[in-house]
């Protein structure tokens, strides 16, 4: 594949109808993402980070332009095919965790695997492994309401990672967490990025998150104003400590 990039956006435009007018949330975005990246879409609130992330995740359609994820143009995918793409290759982490409250930690993490029609034994193995990654092996029977915010987000990370997707999209994953929990979750993702070569794309304006990034794409008013490689600060320091 000539443009064998994992994700490519081409002249991406997103407009929202507001009243009778149109509000342009994304203006002509051209970006590529490669396998194994640890990248942040950075910018002030309202700059279009979430919108861009949702379009990449095929949760939303662009008004103009294209997103090509693993060789598939998301605009040409039918509902079912987009669902398939997400099942197989995409994991999501949300600002508000979005765990399913009536299910246990184990069941929440198990859910994405049910869509893959895995055997029960394989599912169990994968779930236990994922919970090991986030250090929650002792909480498998708990319900989300019994967990702290940090623990909830770790469950969410385990849920996003359990099927070992190519890509994890995380929208403000630390916005509802204190500093210690933010670092914990970021270190976990940073480690998994290295171990499993999973591509991470964040939408964030949190300096702590930015400190872990290897690439920083800055958005302002729906436009990319900067796209640079950065050297991650935090995990190096923490790795030396431990």
């Amino acid at each position: 594949m000539g443009d064998g990039a994992l994700i490519t956006t081409k002249n991406l435009v997103k407009q929202y109808p507001i009243g009778g007018r149109k509000f342009t949330a994304l203006k002509n975005i051209n970006l590529t993402f490669e396998t194994g990246e640890f990248t942040g879409l950075v910018g002030p609130s309202g700059s279009g980070k979430t919108t861009l992330l949702n379009i990449i995740g095929a949760l939303d359609n662009p008004t103009e332009g294209h997103v090509i994820v693993m060789g598939q143009d998301t605009r040409e995918l039918k509902h079912r095919q987009a669902a398939r793409l997400r099942t197989e290759h995409l994991g999501f982490v949300f600002q508000t965790f979005n765990l399913l409250p009536v299910y246990t930690v184990f069941e929440n993490v198990e859910f994405p695997l049910l869509l893959l029609e895995m055997s029960g034994a394989d599912r169990k193995k994968a779930v236990l492994k994922a919970l090991e990654w986030v250090d929650l092996s002792d909480k498998i029977k708990s319900r989300p309401a019994q967990l702290s915010g940090g623990e909830c987000q770790r469950v969410a990370v385990a849920r996003a990672m359990v099927k070992r997707p190519k890509i994890v999209l995380a929208d403000e994953p630390t916005a509802n967490l204190d500093a210690a929990n933010s670092h914990n979750i970021l270190e976990t993702m940073f480690r998994l990025n290295k171990e499993l070569n999973t591509t991470y794309i964040f939408a964030t304006h949190d300096e702590k998150v930015i400190g872990y990034l290897r690439r920083k794409v800055t958005l302002t008013d729906g436009q990319v104003i900067e796209d640079v490689s950065t050297t991650p600060r935090y995990p190096t320091a923490n790795e030396e400590m431990s």
Partner: protein, 424 residues
């Protein structure tokens, strides 16, 4: 996956127990109302049929025209022949001739002077013939308060209340003062042998029950009768059969140029019973439809699929790759499951209530006191085969409609939008 979703459903009270309670309550009320309405119509029709209208009724055309004035001068004659013809042609039905009459009942003292008197509404029935079913049909035995039923000619019964008001006792002599079919005064002595309480407002005020042949004699109506009533077996009215019999009979015997030729009408043609029956049918439909509407809204709000509460769940499921159609289908399955469950429970409760009302009834004697309609004081529900499934219509429809409404809300939104609405 199915098991996974079922687990979630069972654990989420807002989606399982609460809606099941709401549906069960709605279904139970629907069934109760339905059975009660049926019981009301049935009771009213049955009471009317027994006392007044029969399932079919034969009169002269002239009598039929002003039957509420009890014009006995226009009554049928040659009744024995008419009866035996009817019995031969329609052996399935039970036929009975009756005379309704008005008059004054006078109780004299030892000197023969009036001690007490009052107007009566009279009903002459075949009480003394061996195979007459009138006694049983009107449950005179059960209605008897004092004394006994007439066993020989010249014996009569009156309403218990009438007897009390006049201060008369059984065993006393009573004189009926009325008019004959030819317009002259009719005076006839009887012996009061018993008092009755029918549990039917107007009948209990001032009824007098006498044997047919006594009244024929008193009113100078030899072999005559105001009306001949026909009854289906077990007193169950059959609209189609009644109409067929009436039409067939009229096509042969009714002569447009002879006012005294007989005409046959059905229960539905009398006392507005046909309209009442049709109205109740419509009302039952309105009740069921109303409950579907109200319950759909209630369920939509209580949270079987309540919009916002489930946006997060639906959003997550879609984000992790469940197809929209699959989510939608699973929600509908869930609704059907909950609807069925609630309907079953509600049907059991509703039928239990209806059964109680069928056996014991509710006493409305306070409300029917002044009424002139022949309505029983005790209203009973009636359970029919339809009672067993009528509740499933609102129970299932309401849940499925509720799901469709909220489902539309979810599916018109972009998946990304589901999360945004959660966050704000």
């Amino acid at each position: 996956m199915t098991w996974f979703l079922l687990k979630g459903l069972l654990r989420d009270r807002h989606r399982s127990i609460l809606p099941v309670i709401v549906i069960a309550a709605g279904v139970a009320v629907t069934i109760l109302m339905y059975c009660y309405l049926l019981g009301f119509v049935d009771d009213t029709a049955r009471t009317s049929a027994k006392l007044d209208t029969g399932h079919v009724k034969m009169m002269t055309q002239a009598y039929a025209e002003i039957s509420d004035q009890i014009p006995n001068d226009l009554a049928l004659s040659g009744v024995n022949k008419l009866l035996s013809d009817l019995k031969a042609k329609y052996p399935n039905l039970d036929w009975a001739a009756r005379i309704k009459f008005g008059g004054l009942l006078d109780f004299p003292d030892e000197e023969g002077e009036t001690r007490a008197q009052g107007p009566v509404f009279g009903l002459a029935l075949d009480l003394l013939t061996q195979d007459s079913k009138e006694n049983e049909r009107l449950n005179l035995e059960g209605a008897l308060v004092q004394g006994r039923l007439p066993e020989s000619p010249g014996e009569i019964l009156v309403s218990e209340k009438f007897a009390q008001n006049l201060g008369v006792k059984i065993g006393e002599m009573a004189t009926l003062i009325s008019s004959t079919t030819t317009g002259s005064m009719a005076v006839q002595n009887f012996i009061l042998v018993g008092t009755l309480n029918f549990g039917i407002g107007p009948m209990d005020r001032n009824a007098m029950v006498a044997d047919m042949s006594d009244i024929q004699y008193a009113l100078d109506m030899e072999d005559g009768a105001g009306e001949i009533l026909g009854y289906f077996p077990n007193l169950v009215f059959n609209k189609e059969a009644a109409e067929e019999i009436a039409n067939e009979y009229n096509s042969v015997n009714k002569k447009t140029d002879d006012d005294f030729s007989p005409v046959m009408i059905t229960l539905r043609d009398q006392n507005g019973l046909g309209e009442l029956m049709d109205m109740i049918e419509i009302e039952a439909f309105i009740i069921v439809a109303g409950f579907i509407f109200v319950m759909s809204i209630v369920l939509w709000n209580t949270g079987l699929m309540s919009g916002l509460r489930r946006y997060g769940e639906v959003g997550v499921r879609l984000a992790f790759g469940e197809a929209k159609s699959h989510v939608y289908r699973s929600m509908i399955h869930e609704a059907i499951l909950i609807g069925l469950f609630g309907s079953v429970i509600g049907t059991v409760i509703g039928l239990a209530g209806a059964f109680y009302l069928q056996e014991h009834g509710l006493d409305f004697s306070g409300m029917t006191k002044g009424s002139t309609m022949l309505m029983s004081n005790i209203m009973r529900a009636k359970i029919t085969p339809a009672s067993y499934f009528i509740g499933f219509i609102p129970g299932l429809l309401a849940t499925v409609i509720g799901t469709l409404i909220s489902g539309i809300g979810i599916f018109r939104r972009q998946t990304s939008q589901l999360f945004k609405e959660l966050e704000t």
